[in-house]
């Protein structure tokens, strides 16, 4: 037999909180994001639209973790570009002796371009200067880095020009490789300043300047989400409390008991007993902090407790039938849902109906699915529109726990009355 994880039910609500609030908030651990923790990863929502497609961009710009990861990406690129340049020259001139000298100069120029500005900026940022000063100095650092990169590039190309002077009058031996690189070089000369700005940290500087604003926006968004989650949880709590101690049910039962005492003391005793059982089953769940496992069996018991009270009051007008295998009873099942369906069957099905009525709770396990139905032969469904708070809560709870894998169907039965049917996956949420 498969073992399924039982529900942890701390009044059911903590779980909802966890699901609803935690989903959007876990990345922040419920805390506001500290501007001092330079080494921390930024939460996803803070990344700009273009950011986040490489690892380094998920860190704050101009911090050590950012710099190292960026280097891991940009250094190989710089070296590759340098080597391709040297290879293009050597292959074209047929002189591989030129390769090492040209390659190291070109690589050095590339490495200077990608590293100097960001490195300076990172030093500055880790000095934790006042914000305005830091911003000015970071931008300055990037500009200095760009200047140094230009000088290095100039030195490399001067060396190349020097080499070319030795080959005066000879044309390049242009193969396919040479032609491709020529085209790329021709394009990137136009774009060289642009390329330097990207590689040299210009984009990162813009990103850096917008970082605080994005963090603030993200936090505001999180705050809204958290408040919304809290509101939903509070609404649910209220609805649950109301469902637990449905005043109409309680006072009606008391009235019933009082009127039975004089003439039918035995039935009065039965009703009080049934009420006691029901309250015992429900009230502990109102206490927070107590961990309780809820299975379908426990939920069915709660419902039969409730139905016993109704049946005692209705003096034989209500028949209750439960069909559930041991496997189904042992299956984990979220709290409140079944009771809501049973209460609906009583309030909207049996109570408005003239004459005797019947309610059946039927549960079965089929492969990986648990199906639970509540059927009544009562007043049936009346076409129209309703707000149906209880059912809406059931639906919301199923959706937040199982997503699309759970279904709730409410339909009239061909023989009269209503059937509410829930299907949930057995492997838990």
């Amino acid at each position: 037999m498969r073992r399924t994880r039982p529900w942890r039910d701390e009044s059911g609500l903590e779980r909802m909180d966890g699901v609803r609030i935690g989903a959007g908030f876990a990345s922040l651990g419920g805390m506001t994001f500290s501007h001092d923790a330079l080494g921390d990863r930024l939460p996803r929502g803070v990344l700009s639209d273009l950011g986040g497609w490489t690892l380094y961009q998920s860190f704050r710009a101009f911090t050590w973790p950012w710099l190292l990861r960026r280097a891991a990406l940009f250094w190989p690129l710089a070296i590759l570009v340098g080597c391709v340049f040297a290879t293009w020259h050597s292959a074209g001139m047929g002189s591989w002796l030129d390769w090492p000298g040209l390659a190291w100069r070109a690589c050095l120029a590339g490495l200077a371009a990608v590293s100097v500005g960001p490195l300076l900026a990172t030093f500055i940022r880790h000095r934790r200067l006042p914000l305005a000063a830091e911003r000015v100095l970071v931008v300055l650092a990037i500009l200095i880095g760009l200047a140094i990169a230009l000088i290095a590039a100039h030195m490399a190309s001067a060396y190349h020009a020097e080499l070319m002077r030795g080959y005066a009058g000879r044309s390049m031996n242009v193969g396919l490789f040479g032609r491709v690189v020529s085209i790329v070089l021709a394009m990137s000369i136009d774009a060289s300043i642009f390329a330097l700005v990207i590689a040299g940290g210009g984009v990162a500087a813009v990103y850096y300047l917008g970082e605080r604003r994005r963090i603030a926006q993200h936090e505001a968004h999180q705050q809204v989400e958290r408040l919304r989650g809290e509101r939903d949880a509070a609404n649910m709590r209220l609805a649950v409390l109301q469902a637990q101690v449905e005043p109409h049910f309680l006072f009606n039962t008391l009235a019933s008991v009082r009127s039975l005492i004089a003439n039918e003391p035995e039935r009065a005793a039965q009703t009080v007993e049934a009420l006691g059982n029901y309250l015992r089953a429900t009230l502990p769940r109102l206490r927070g902090g107590r961990v309780e496992e809820t299975t379908l069996g426990a939920q069915i018991q709660l419902c039969t407790g409730y139905l016993d009270v109704i049946a005692a009051r209705m003096a034989g007008r209500l028949q209750v039938r439960v069909e559930a295998s041991e496997t189904a009873r042992a299956a984990p099942f979220p709290p409140f849902i079944l009771l809501t369906l049973v209460e609906n069957a009583v309030t909207h099905g049996i109570e408005p109906k003239v004459g005797p009525g019947a309610i059946a709770i039927i549960a079965s396990v089929d492969q990986d699915q648990l199906t639970v139905s509540v059927e009544d032969d009562g007043a049936g469904l009346e076409p129209g529109v309703t707000s149906g708070l209880g059912l809406t809560n059931v639906r919301a709870q199923l959706l937040s726990l199982f997503g699309e894998r759970a279904t709730l169907e409410i339909a009239a039965r061909p023989s009269g009355g209503v059937r509410a049917r829930i299907r949930i996956p057995l492997d838990g949420p």
Partner: protein
């Protein structure tokens, strides 16, 4: 007061009904209980067949609820409503002339009711209709629609509003379309619109309300009128000129 004051008692639980009758007999010996009923239909029948001076009506009853019984019987009697719990209703009735009892009914409270009824010497009953309307309004405060009960094929189902993509007026009915089902209801679009979240559902035409998030494509037809295609709905929906502004490109 004449000795022949008559009463009707309607309460679905027999022991509670008997208890109320016994209490009345003690507090108001001259009162004759002419009808005892255990559901709303029986109460209405007894009332019309044999109009009482006073009616004690449980609000939650099988068949017809107490409010409906009072409304349909017309204002020919003084009505005392009985219910287990409803604080709003208590407010509503405290302002009115009709009395309202909470279960379990206390003898002193019932004595007050009896006292009021006797003192008044049963003048012409007050206008119940408006009171009931006010009361019914408070009973079911207007809320947003979250379920639609309608026939899908030959089965009546409840459809969650979250599944609805389109409301389309067709002849006397409004078609409710989800990705899987199409159902018909009688509630007119105008009434639906008032109860739908305007952020989620947009009126785009005299005959259509659509779920905004389901809009897949908005395109003008040959005549330049806008048409909407919805995910899960095969036919295009016309946008009338008065709603066109909602689809201006941002």
């Amino acid at each position: 007061m004449s000795a022949a004051t008559t009463a009707l008692v309607a309460e679905d639980e027999a022991p509670q009904r008997r208890e109320l009758c016994a209490m009345l007999a003690e507090l108001w010996p001259e009162l004759t209980i002419i009808s005892e009923c255990e559901d709303g239909l029986c109460a209405l029948e007894a009332w019309t067949a044999n109009p009482p001076d006073v009616a004690f009506l449980d609000i939650r009853m099988p068949g017809l609820n107490g409010l409906e019984v009072a409304r349909q019987a017309g204002g020919s009697a003084h009505v005392v409503f009985i219910t287990a719990y409803d604080e709003f209703a208590v407010d509503a009735f405290e302002a009115g002339a009709v009395d309202y009892l909470l279960k379990p009914i206390r003898a002193e409270r019932l004595a007050m009711t009896v006292g009021r009824l006797r003192q008044r010497q049963l003048p012409a009953p007050i206008d119940l209709d408006s009171l009931i309307r006010a009361f019914a309004g408070r009973f079911a405060p207007k809320q947003e629609i979250s379920w639609i009960t309608a026939s899908v094929g030959d089965i009546v189902r409840m459809i969650s509003i979250d599944d609805v993509l389109l409301f389309k007026a067709e002849d006397k009915y409004v078609r409710v379309a989800t990705a899987e089902h199409a159902a018909h209801i009688r509630t007119p679009l105008k009434a639906l619109q008032l109860q739908l979240d305007p952020e989620i559902f947009w009126r785009v035409h005299r005959n259509a309300i659509v779920r905004v998030s389901a809009i897949r494509r908005v395109k003008p037809d040959e005549d330049g009128r806008l048409q909407i295609w919805l995910d899960g709905v095969s036919e295009p929906i016309q946008v009338s000129d008065s709603f066109r502004h909602r689809f201006r490109p941002m």
